[in-house]
C-alpha cells in the first residue's frame, strides 16, 4: 500500500482513473451504437436493453467528476488543465451514450424495413463513424495530436455528408415515418461525430479553443 509514496508518480491515480472511466464510457457507447444500428439498419430485434447499458456510462460520468474534484481539492496545482479537460470530455462522452440510445428509440417509429439507397448511405456513414471511437480514445490516452486532428477532420467530412443526406431525405418521396427515422438517424450520427471531435479537440486545440469549430454538439 505504501509502495509509490515517494515515487513522484507522473500522474495522479485519480486522474488516471478518470481517463480510464472515459475510455470505458467510449467503449460502452460504441457497443451501444453497434447494437442500435444493427437493429435499425439490419432490421434485427434489439439484442440488449440500451437503457441498462447506458447506466454505467452515466455512473462513470459521476465518478469522473468526483475524481477530478477530489484530485483538485488535494492538488489544485497538479494537472489542473488535464482536470478541466476531463470535465469537458466527460460531458461529450456521456452525450454519445445518450445518442446511441436515441438510435435504438427510432426503430419502433419505422413502419417498414430499412432498405434501399438511404439505408445504404446511412450504413456507409456509420462505418465511417465507428472507427473514430477507437482513434479518439487512442488520441486522448496517448495525447496524440495527429490522431486527434484526424478525428476532427473525418468528423467534419461526415457532418457534411450527413447534412446532404438529410437534405436528400427532405426532397425524397419517402413515407413520413421513414423520413423521420432516416433524418433523425443522420442527425444522431452527425452529433456523435461532433462529440468525438470535441473530445479530440481537447488534445489538438489550446484549452480555450476546445470544441472550437463545432458549436453544434
Amino acid at each position: 500500500m505504501f509502495k509509490g509514496f515517494f515515487s513522484g508518480a507522473p500522474r495522479s491515480p485519480l486522474i488516471e482513473a478518470a481517463f480510464d472511466d472515459i475510455s470505458e464510457m467510449l467503449r460502452v457507447s460504441g457497443r451501444m451504437l453497434d447494437l442500435a444500428l444493427e437493429s435499425l439498419l439490419d432490421n434485427q430485434p434489439l439484442q440488449a436493453d440500451l437503457d441498462e447499458l447506458d447506466d454505467p456510462v452515466d455512473e462513470a460520468e459521476r465518478m469522473v467528476r468526483r475524481s477530478v474534484l477530489e484530485h483538485l481539492s488535494f492538488n489544485p496545482k497538479q494537472e489542473l488543465v488535464a482536470s478541466l479537460v476531463l470535465v469537458s470530455m466527460v460531458q461529450d462522452a456521456e452525450r454519445i451514450g445518450d445518442f446511441a440510445r436515441g438510435i435504438g428509440e427510432l426503430v419502433p417509429l419505422a413502419k417498414s424495413e430499412r432498405q434501399g439507397p438511404f439505408a445504404d448511405r446511412l450504413r456507409t456513414a456509420a462505418a465511417e463513424l465507428r472507427p473514430l471511437f477507437e482513434i479518439t480514445e487512442h488520441a486522448f490516452r496517448d495525447d496524440d495530436e495527429k490522431e486527434a486532428r484526424r478525428v476532427m477532420g473525418r468528423s467534419s467530412a461526415l457532418k457534411e455528408e450527413l447534412q446532404q443526406f438529410t437534405a436528400d431525405v427532405a426532397d425524397s418521396d419517402l413515407s413520413a415515418d421513414m423520413a423521420v427515422v432516416y433524418a433523425n438517424a443522420a442527425r444522431i450520427l452527425r452529433r456523435i461525430g461532433s462529440h468525438l471531435s470535441n473530445i479530440a479537440s481537447s488534445v489538438a486545440q489550446p484549452y480555450d479553443r476546445i470544441r472550437h469549430g463545432d458549436e453544434e454538439a
Binding site: F6, A9, E70
Partner: protein, 435 residues
C-alpha cells in the same frame, strides 16, 4: 527521477531533524531562563480556562495545532508547564485548528448554496471540538479523567521501553542544540526565538513536503474509503492526517467536496474524527523525542481527548445529531447573512479568546493577578535550573508561584499517589548537565 526522490527523502530527514532541534532548543531556552521564568509560566497557565484560551488563540494565529501541541509538550518536558496546565492548552489547540478549514470555506462565499454546504462542513469540525471540550473539560477539572488515563498509558509505554525509543535521536539533536545556543551567546531569549522559528518553519515545510510526496496516495485513499462506511472514513481521516501531519490540511481538503455536494455532512463527520485522531501523532513524536514521561503523558492526553470525544459523541445518535444540526444551522445563517459568517470566525477564534484572556488577566504578569490560595503540599521539585547552578544546592520549590496554587482543579489528581506532574512532583526536567 531517482536523484529527485533521494533529494526529497534527504530533505524530509533534514526537516525532521530541524523539528526535533527546535523542540530541544525550546527546552534548553527554558533552562537558560531559569527557575523563576518557568514558575511564572506555570502560574500563568494554572487557570485551565486561560490555558484553553491560549490554546485556541495560539493555534488560530499559527493555523497549526501540531505547532501548538509540540510547543506544549516541549514546555512540559522543560518544566515550564505542568500536565494539568498543558491539557487545557491541548484542548484549545483542538478548537483553534478548525479555523483553517473555516477560513477555506469563506472562499465559497460568492455562491450561496455552495457556501451554505461548505460553511456547514467547516463548522462541523468546530462544533464537534467545542462539544468535546464542553464534555471533557469539566470531567478533567473534577476527576482528572485525561490526566489519569494518560499517565496510566504512559506507564505502560514506559514499562515497554517506548519512551527510550528516541534516545539515539536525542544523542544527535542535543549537541546541535547546545552548539546553536552557544552561537547565540547562550541567551535564553534568543535560543527560545530560534527554537520557535525552527519548530514553526520545520513543521510548515515538513507538512508542505509530505503533502507533495503523499498527496497522490492520499487522494486515492480518500476516494476509496470515504463513501464506504463510518469506520473506513475514520481510518481514512486518521491515515491521511498522519501522512501529511496536519489535520488542517485534511479537513480543508474536504471543504470544496462538501461545498460541491459530493460529500455530505454525515459522510464528513467520521472523516473529521479521524483527522482529529491523526493529528495527535505529531505531539506524540515530539514528546517521545524529549524522552520526558510528563511530555508523553500530555501527548497521550491529546490522543485520549480526541478518542474519548469520538467514543462519547459519535456512536450515540442523540449526541451525534447535535454538531450536525448546529453546523447546518450556522451554514444556513451564514449563507443568508455573510457578515454573520465572517463575524463568527472573527469572534470564536480571535475576538472571544482575546477578550476573555484580557478579562481573566491572562495577559498580566502572574504577580498582577489575584493572590493565589496557599499551595496544598509544597514539596521539593526538580524544576528548571539556572545555567551553571548546582541543582542539588538550590531550593526547587517556591510556594508563591506554585503552579497548582491559583488554579481550581489544577492540582494533582486525588489519589494519584504523587504520580501526577504537579508541584509536588518532579517536573521531568531535561538533564541538568545539558546546559
Amino acid at each position: 527521477m531517482i536523484r529527485r526522490r533521494v533529494g526529497r527523502v534527504l530533505l524530509l530527514l533534514l526537516l525532521l531533524f530541524a523539528f526535533f532541534l527546535g523542540l530541544d532548543m525550546m527546552g534548553l531556552a527554558f533552562k537558560l531562563f531559569g527557575k523563576g521564568f518557568a514558575e511564572g509560566m506555570i502560574a500563568r497557565t494554572a487557570n485551565p480556562f486561560v490555558g484553553l484560551l491560549v490554546g485556541i488563540l495560539a493555534t488560530s494565529l499559527v493555523q497549526s495545532s501540531s505547532t501548538t501541541t509540540s510547543m506544549t509538550v516541549a514546555l512540559v518536558a522543560a518544566g515550564g508547564l505542568t500536565i494539568d496546565g498543558a491539557i487545557p492548552i491541548i484542548m484549545g489547540a483542538n478548537i483553534g485548528t478548525s479555523v483553517t478549514n473555516t477560513l477555506v470555506s469563506l472562499g465559497h462565499l460568492t455562491r450561496r448554496e455552495e457556501f451554505k454546504r461548505a460553511f456547514a462542513g467547516a463548522t462541523l469540525h468546530d462544533f464537534f471540538n467545542l462539544m468535546t471540550v464542553a464534555i471533557l473539560l469539566p470531567l478533567e477539572l473534577t476527576v482528572h479523567v485525561l490526566h489519569r488515563s494518560a499517565q496510566a498509558l504512559e506507564k505502560v509505554l514506559e514499562g515497554s521501553g517506548g519512551i527510550e525509543l528516541f534516545d539515539p535521536l536525542k544523542a544527535v539533536v542535543r549537541p546541535a542544540a547546545k552548539w546553536l545556543s552557544g552561537q547565540l551567546g547562550s541567551s535564553g531569549a534568543l535560543t527560545l526565538i530560534a527554537g520557535l522559528l525552527l519548530l514553526f518553519f520545520a513543521l510548515k515545510l515538513l507538512v508542505d513536503l509530505l503533502k507533495e510526496l503523499v498527496s497522490s496516495r492520499a487522494e486515492q485513499i480518500l476516494d476509496r474509503t470515504l463513501f464506504r462506511s463510518s469506520l473506513a472514513a475514520i481510518g481514512a481521516g486518521t491515515l491521511i492526517t498522519v501522512m501529511v501531519q496536519s489535520s488542517s490540511i485534511t479537513t480543508s481538503v474536504m471543504v470544496p467536496l462538501v461545498g460541491a455536494g459530493v460529500v455530505t455532512l454525515e459522510q464528513l463527520f467520521p472523516f473529521t474524527i479521524g483527522a482529529n485522531l491523526g493529528t495527535t501523532v505529531t505531539a506524540l513524536l515530539a514528546a517521545l523525542a524529549t524522552g520526558s514521561p510528563a511530555a508523553v503523558s500530555v501527548a497521550l492526553s491529546h490522543l485520549l481527548f480526541n478518542t474519548m470525544g469520538a467514543v462519547i459523541i459519535y456512536p450515540l445518535p442523540v449526541l451525534r445529531r447535535v454538531p450536525l444540526a448546529l453546523a447546518r444551522g450556522l451554514g444556513s445563517i451564514g449563507s443568508r447573512n455573510r457578515v454573520a459568517a465572517l463575524a463568527y470566525v472573527a469572534t470564536v477564534f480571535f475576538g472571544l479568546p482575546i477578550l476573555l484572556l484580557v478579562l481573566s488577566g491572562g495577559f498580566n504578569a502572574p504577580a498582577d493577578r489575584p493572590a493565589a490560595a496557599p499551595p496544598p503540599a509544597p514539596e521539593p521539585i526538580e524544576g528548571p535550573v539556572e545555567p551553571g547552578a548546582d541543582p542539588a544546592a538550590e531550593p526547587q520549590s517556591d510556594p508563591a508561584v506554585d503552579p497548582g496554587a491559583g488554579a481550581e482543579g489544577a492540582g494533582p489528581p486525588p489519589g494519584s499517589g504523587g504520580e501526577a506532574q504537579t508541584p509536588s512532583q518532579p517536573l521531568s526536567p531535561v538533564e541538568v548537565d545539558d546546559v
